[in-house]
Amino acid sequence: MQSNDGIRSDSNNYSNNYSMDKYQHMFVLFEHDDGNALNVSYEMLGEARRLMDYFNSRYSSDERVIAIILGYNVKHLCSKAIDAGADAVIYAEHEALRYPVVNTYTKVISSIVRDRGLVKQAAESTSSVYIKPRYMLFGADSIGRHISATVLAELNSGLASDVNKLVIDDVTITHQYKTGGKPEHYKRVLFMYRPDFSGFLWTQILCLDNKNPSIAREYSPQACSVIPGVFKPLQLDGNRSGKIVEYKPYIDESDLKYRILKREIIKDEVNLEDSKVIVAFGRGIKDDPEKNVRLIEQLADLLNAKIAISLPLSKLPFNVSSSIKEKYFIPARVVGSSGKKVAPKLYIAVGISGAMHHIVGMKDSEVVISINPDIEAPIKDESDIFINARLEDVLPLLIDAIKSIVSSNKVVGKSTISKQ
């Protein structure tokens, strides 16, 4: 194979020559709040472990999973990161790092991953020409979303956000810009899958070197932010061992001028997670949103249920009164991969088609009843009872029936429908 950018050595020998790689290892930003780890940190480390085990066996390599922990009094997290799948941890402690500050964190993280000596201390397989990470993972949350963006701007490479599937593979690509229209082979590519806003499409994002000679450039690391709750963490294993290395951060005077004055933990406005019954609604309310939400309120009141919504509704697609909008059309009520995961005794999905990111959030419910006029709606396959009709035709009848049953108290032993 020809070497187009003239920077890499012979790409045929590339896989046997890992010790001379400029880009190595998978770095994971371990996210926590003043020492309390976020679950996504363990989820990322679990996925990183699986990916790099595969990577090392497929490419006969010895690249590592390295967790980065920034904070103040965070040593206790280092061994946890090892237990959760990291081969090594690089941590930095400073009062200015106690809580994430985008600019300060970005400087420290970038310095860490570019410090060859430090990285070699953490991972002895680090080559003498190491420059930057091969891969990096961040959480797609209020911490990782912004820091991933600024770190990758600093490292001048590409980033995919809100990823829910990761695969490492080789690929041959013909691209007008990347390859100048000729087929080129790329090795060790991180395929980053993200669901789009509709929830029906999966986009594969790749971060690739420009092999086109006129714009030749190497892009590393390949990085992404991952949706919390998607990847499975490993069982914490106290028998795992790994290197823990301290980095002494340099905090610039100017960074100290950004000050956190106050922090207050607030209660969840909705708290769907503890609810035994949830009535959720989606775009199916569209024909008369105001009236339909009122019907849903009635049903929820009867069942002492909390009300949830599907993701599209949090983006305010409807003209409804501001009282309804502010009460229901809010992110805190979203069930799904970019919202909450719930597992109530009964989940009633009203006018929800069942995009994958919604299913992820409710599939562990004990019983699911859905109302949808579309017999092909994916929610059907997740339902114990699928009421195949418009919600306007169903809810008034259903509400009346429940009312009359409750008031006549003819409850016990009459049910003829059961979970199949």
């Binding site: 985008v102 949350d141 209020s142 701007a153 029906f200 950004y258 005794k345 114990d384 009421i387």
Partner: protein, 297 residues
């Protein structure tokens, strides 16, 4: 009356996006967005950024410049933005070579854009406002990446802010969602310049009578002036901006969209019993529900 050291200059980054609101949006039979039948508008998060700029205009008498990178018709987003924040200037960065940019290549254009419109005074832009994320791209990365390239402090998820003109600093309240833990409301202080990305829950609230009077004057003016928005519009090409063409558009994008596929249907996890909307069947469902959740209470 206003000392030049006490002035404030703000910019807003906006985006023309498909209108996903019901009645405007058209979906294909397979549930995906039909882009050709869906009209484009100022994105909802961009509109929130414009309201934050309006607040700066009302409370600090700020000059407001609205900027966008996009196709020539993205001037529609600027017009809508102007009708919200009564912008003094509108800037459209448009060039065929900008097309297909990922967030890094977009931030490169926006950085140059902000620098180029900063020349009018010595201090440059004090605050850049950006939305939470675009409804179509949804990455939320462009704001922080532009901030980093500009060397501005980035403050994200902002729900309230004040400017201290004397100290040249900003106070901001931000919402930090920590999934699996809790939500934190954080108050921070930073020297200017900053890039502020607004949380979707941001509201510009005017508490004093004089603020409300100024607001209604600005609203009237915004409405009037935006009819004639082209008078305030400046269009910039790659050459005008002085960007290195190797770092913008597709050429400057590290990432590519390799494939778009339908998310495969997961195997049915439940065997659903299908029920129709007739009274008898719904009564059975009602009994089942009552037994399940009310019976045991």
């Amino acid at each position: 009356m206003i000392d030049s050291n006490n002035t404030l200059s703000v910019a807003v980054l906006v985006k023309l996006e498909p209108d996903l609101s019901e009645g405007s949006v058209t979906y294909n039979p397979d549930g995906t967005l039909n882009r050709s039948l869906t009209k484009n508008i100022l994105g909802p998060h961009s509109a929130i950024a414009c309201r934050a700029a309006r607040y700066a205009k009302v409370c600090y008498n700020a000059t407001v410049k609205v900027c966008t990178m996009g196709p020539p018709n993205a001037d529609l987003a600027l017009k809508e933005a102007m009708s919200i924040c009564d912008a003094d200037e509108l800037h459209l960065y448009t060039d065929r070579i900008f097309a297909g940019a990922d967030t890094l290549a977009t931030a490169e254009v926006l950085k140059h854009g902000i620098l180029r419109i900063s020349n009018s005074n010595d201090r440059g832009i004090d605050i850049v406002f950006a939305g939470h994320r675009a409804v179509d791209g949804e990455t939320g990365q462009t704001g922080p990446q532009t901030a980093w390239k500009l060397g501005f402090n980035f403050i994200g998820n902002v729900i309230d802010y004040r400017v201290n003109l004397k100290n040249r600093s900003v106070w901001a309240k931000r919402r930090v969602d920590l999934p699996s833990l809790y939500t934190v409301i954080e108050e921070v202080e930073s020297p200017l310049p900053v890039l502020i990305a607004l949380d979707p829950s941001y509201k510009d609230i005017y508490t004093t009578v004089s603020q409300r009077l100024r607001l209604s004057r600005i609203e009237r003016e915004a409405n009037e002036r935006s009819k004639d928005y082209k008078r305030y519009l400046k269009v910039w090409s790659a050459k005008d901006l002085g960007v290195d063409v190797r770092y913008v558009g597709l050429a400057g994008s590290p990432t590519i969209v390799y494939k778009v596929e339908r998310i495969p249907k997961v195997k049915a996890s439940r065997r659903s019993r299908v029920v129709n909307a007739d009274i008898k069947e719904l009564r059975e469902v009602a009994e089942y529900i009552v037994n399940l959740v009310i019976g045991e209470r």
